[in-house]
Symmetry: C2
Subunit: 202 residues, 2 copies
Amino acid sequence: MLKTRAERGTARIRLLDAAVDVIRTQGYNATTVDDLCAAAGVTKGAFFHHFHSKTALAVAAADHWSTTTGELFSSADYHERSTPTERVLGYLDFRRNLIGDDPAKFSCLVGTMTQETFATYPDIRDACGQSILAHAQRLEADIDAALTADAKADGITAASLAIHMQVVIQGAFILSKAADDPSLAVDSIDHLRRYVTTLLDT
Amino acid sequence: MLKTRAERGTARIRLLDAAVDVIRTQGYNATTVDDLCAAAGVTKGAFFHHFHSKTALAVAAADHWSTTTGELFSSADYHERSTPTERVLGYLDFRRNLIGDDPAKFSCLVGTMTQETFATYPDIRDACGQSILAHAQRLEADIDAALTADAKADGITAASLAIHMQVVIQGAFILSKAADDPSLAVDSIDHLRRYVTTLLDT
DNA sequence: AGAAACATACCGACCAGTTGGTATGGTCGC
DNA sequence: GCGACCATACCAACTGGTCGGTATGTTTCT
């Protein structure tokens, strides 16, 4: 089990990556520490060397999720479009294209963990909330610049629309899982795109 | 434990009601059989007399959820409105008013269970999927009658919009839990209402 | 050498499900 | 109209296994 020079020192990252995979599939509570160690190819000693509890790992996994997805989105090419409206719609198209065959691969770690932990593990819930809310906030500037005067006059705020977009995306994952059919998620993002389009300048 | 005539024969229902409460708060996997027995005021023997496993209880709880919420919605007064558009928007207003202070009380049992069970308990997932999809389907006739010719020409179907409405509602519950703020759910349903309004005859 | 990064063996608590019963109310022969 | 019989509903103690976490090493890097 002891690893070579190159493999040593990676246990923490491997556990975090394993957490994303396993928890998205099984959920947080059904995932045991041993499950995570096995998936990461690591022993329990390594686990508790890096995380003082299973809860601490979940919080770290939520942060890890924010980091890795943050990099994915910030390197996506919709940022290079010239108008705010194109960038907002480009974000939705990008998210639409992320949907594949397996909900365990395309759905959101922190959305999954939120439902299991909101009332019982405040630390995990806060980390999940931060992750989702910070992601939404990254869209606010473009949305604000793109909103039509009519929409603003109707009381629609960029913050509220940014959150609504995350609502639809999270809900789309649930329905995909419930119906065992990812196409429901795609259809719902199409509806969202149509709605957002009516609110933005073109 | 349950001795009197009036109390006997109610253990099954009490367990199902307890399951709705406890699982919405803690999630399915974190809820133990003993938790459910304690909440129902019943012993373990009674539990396994009525349900051959914890999984079987979850399936029964999903069906129970469909039944009780089905009654709630079918007795709501938006059905008495005269036009399909008014009934569809009345449904959304009704759902909006259902949102209170505590997500554990206003969120959806089967939406919660779906995320935890979709890959690991197919029986529970199917029961949850059925519950949500059947609920969505109950709106289809009114939506179909209310959709404008333009919307239909754009390829929007009543089935797809009915599902999108459930997507937003489920997603709204997640964001409410994540942000620990039910007002996000209300705001998102407002966005949904605005979108739906643009697609229906008035 | 000393510290960080692991590995292994183990523990007490807990959990789903079982077992072997008891209490209750209905049915049917008489 | 009553006692034998029985099915259903429930109870409490227990079991085999699992889980999060710990204690105590061993290896590797600097």
